[in-house]
Symmetry: C2
C-alpha cells in the first residue's frame, strides 16, 4: 500500500454488546488492519476511551471515523441503547468522541450500518430494496429502500425483530407480546431452554456452553447443538425460523423487497442453509413475492459493521 | 378559469371496484370537473371504453391522463387485479388506453395513488414518512418514505392488509391465515357477521343494508349500525380496529413513520374518531414511536384517488 492510498483510509468502529471492533478501511471497502477489545460496562465515557485507544493502536492514521452502535441514533446523538451496560440516557456521541479524536465523525445504528456494509461490498451489492435480518442476542434489522439506506423519521427504522407475528403471544424482552424476537432472539430462546430443562427435558446446550467455556448460549453453542441433532435445540431453532418467516413475509408484503440478507453469528456458522430455511419459512406468507426475490447470508461476517461504519466516515469527510 | 389555466388541466382516473371516477385537476391539485360511472364487469376493454367516454364528457380537454387501479402495476402494465371482474391476466393498460386517447398516460396502484393525493394536497401534506391505510372491501395501503412515494421492487409495496398479525389465525381472502385484512376487511367482516347471525346472534346490519337499498355491507351500512350501537357490529368493528393497531404497530417498528393516514368509506363517515381509535390500538405495539407521530383521516375523501392519479399524469407530460 502506498502513502497516497493510506491517506484515504478511514476507521470503521463496530460497538457490540460483547466487543468493540475497529478496522482501517480503504475506498474499495477493504479492511487493512483491525483492533478489538471487550466492550466496557461502565457507560459511554469508558466506551469512548476504548474506541480512542483502539484507533490509536492501528498502524495508520485514519482521516475520519464512523461508529455503529446498538441503539437509536439521530443527528449524531444516541437516543437509547437497550443492550449496553451503563447507557441510560441520550448521549451526544459524535461531539464527545470529537473531543478525543479531532476528525470528522459519523454515527449510525449497528444493524443499519451492518446492512450498509453488505449493500456496499457484500451479499446485497447493487440491490435496490433490501432487508437485513441480524440474528443475535436479539433480532435486529436494517433497510435499503429505492436504492438508498432507509433510517426512518428518527433513525429507528428496521426493527424486524419487533414486527408482531402473534399478537398477544410470547412475552418479548421489550415488554410486548408476540414480537418475532420473543421466539427468535437468543436471549428469549435461552429463557425457554432453561424452563424446558427445569421441566425435565434434556439438552446438550448448557453442557456445550460449559465445554466451550462460554457464559451464555452463543451462536457457536447453538450451532454445535444443532449439528449434534440436539432435540430441544432443534425444536427451539425450528420455532425461531418459522417465526422469522412470518415477520419477513409481512415485511415483504409491505415493502416488495428484492433481497433479504441474513446475518449474525448463526448466519456465519450455518451459512446459506440458514438463508434457505428462512426463505422457505417466509414463502407461505408472501402475497406477491417478486420473481427476483433472493435470500442470502452475510458475506462480510464480522467485517460488515466495520465496513458500513467506515462508509459513514467517508461520507462525513464530505459533509463535515 | 382562463384558457391558459385550462391548458394545464390533466385528468385523474380512479378505477374502483364499484365506480370509475374521473376529474379534471389543475396544477394546484384542485378538481374542476367530475364524471362517474359504474365499473363495467366485462374486463379490461370495457373499463377502457368507460374511461374514454368519461374523459370525453368532461368540459375541457386534459393534456394528460393518470389512472389508479386496484392491482399490482409495473412499467405501465397491470400485473394482477384481484378485485375487478374479468381481469385475469397481465394487461398493458397504458398502451391500450393510448390507442383510444392520444395523450401521455400514467398508471399507478389505487392505494398508492390515493396516498399520493393525500400527500400532495391532503392530510399528509409535507410529511416525509407516511403510511396510508385504506379501509374498504379489503385493507389497502400505500407508503411515502424519505419524502417520496415508495412502490417497491415491482410496484407491489404497501400491503398493510397482508401484514400478518396472528400467524395461523383467521383465514384471509388471500388464502393465508392471520392477515390484518382477515379481521378488518369489510368482505371478511361480512362473512363473520353472517356466521354469527346463523348462530343465533342478532344484528341490524342486514336490515340497514336492505333499508339503504345496498347489495352489500357498505361503509354507510357499517357506520349506521355503529351509530345505532348495534352490539355485533360494534364487536366486529372493535376487532377490526384492534387488529389494524397491531399491523400498524409492526409497520411503525419497521419504518419509523411520522404520519398514518386512514382513508376509505369508513374514514369519511367516522372522521377523526377512527384515526384516534387506530392510534390507541397501535400504541401498545410500538417499540419507539416518534414523538411527532400523527394519526389523521383522509382530507380529500373520494378525490384522493383522482388527485393522486392526476399528479401521475402531470409527471407523464415530462417523462413522456
Amino acid at each position: 500500500m502506498t502513502a497516497s492510498e493510506r491517506d484515504l483510509l478511514v476507521a470503521g468502529v463496530d460497538v457490540g454488546g460483547t466487543n468493540i471492533e475497529v478496522g482501517l478501511v480503504d475506498d474499495r471497502h477493504e479492511v487493512h488492519g483491525r483492533a478489538k477489545a471487550p466492550t466496557p460496562t461502565g457507560g459511554p465515557d469508558e466506551v469512548l476511551d476504548t474506541i480512542s485507544r483502539l484507533i490509536a493502536s492501528l498502524d495508520a492514521d485514519p482521516v475520519a471515523v464512523g461508529v455503529g452502535i446498538p441503539g437509536v441514533v439521530h443527528e449524531g446523538a444516541v437516543l437509547t441503547v437497550p443492550n449496553l451496560a451503563g447507557w441510560h440516557e441520550r448521549f451526544d456521541l459524535v461531539a464527545s468522541l470529537q473531543e478525543r479524536i479531532d476528525l470528522p465523525i459519523a454515527l449510525g445504528n449497528d444493524a443499519n450500518v451492518g446492512l450498509l456494509g453488505e449493500w456496499l461490498a457484500g451479499a446485497a451489492r447493487g440491490a435496490r430494496n433490501v432487508l437485513g435480518l441480524w440474528m443475535g442476542t436479539g433480532v435486529g434489522g436494517g433497510l435499503i429502500l429505492d436504492g438508498r439506506p432507509f433510517n426512518g423519521a428518527r433513525g429507528a427504522a428496521g426493527e424486524i425483530g419487533h414486527v408482531v407475528v402473534l399478537a398477544g403471544g410470547a412475552l418479548c424482552t421489550c415488554g410486548r407480546r408476540g414480537c418475532a424476537e420473543a421466539y427468535a432472539g437468543r436471549r428469549s430462546m435461552r429463557g425457554v431452554a432453561s424452563a424446558m430443562v427445569d421441566a425435565g427435558w434434556t439438552t446438550s446446550l448448557f453442557d456445550i456452553r460449559d465445554d466451550e467455556d462460554k457464559s451464555s448460549l452463543t451462536s457457536k453453542v447453538w450451532a454445535r447443538a444443532l449439528d449434534e441433532d440436539d432435540a430441544l435445540a432443534t425444536k427451539l431453532f425450528d420455532t425461531a425460523v418459522e417465526t422469522l418467516g412470518v415477520a419477513v413475509g409481512s415485511a415483504i408484503n409491505l415493502l416488495d423487497l428484492e433481497v433479504v440478507v441474513v446475518g449474525g453469528g448463526l448466519a456465519e456458522k450455518l451459512g446459506s442453509d440458514l438463508a434457505d430455511r428462512i426463505a422457505a419459512a417466509a414463502e407461505p406468507w408472501m402475497l406477491r413475492p417478486s420473481p427476483d426475490l433472493r435470500f442470502v447470508v452475510s458475506e462480510l461476517e464480522d467485517d460488515a459493521g466495520v465496513v458500513g461504519a467506515a462508509s459513514l466516515a467517508r461520507a462525513a469527510i464530505v459533509t463535515g
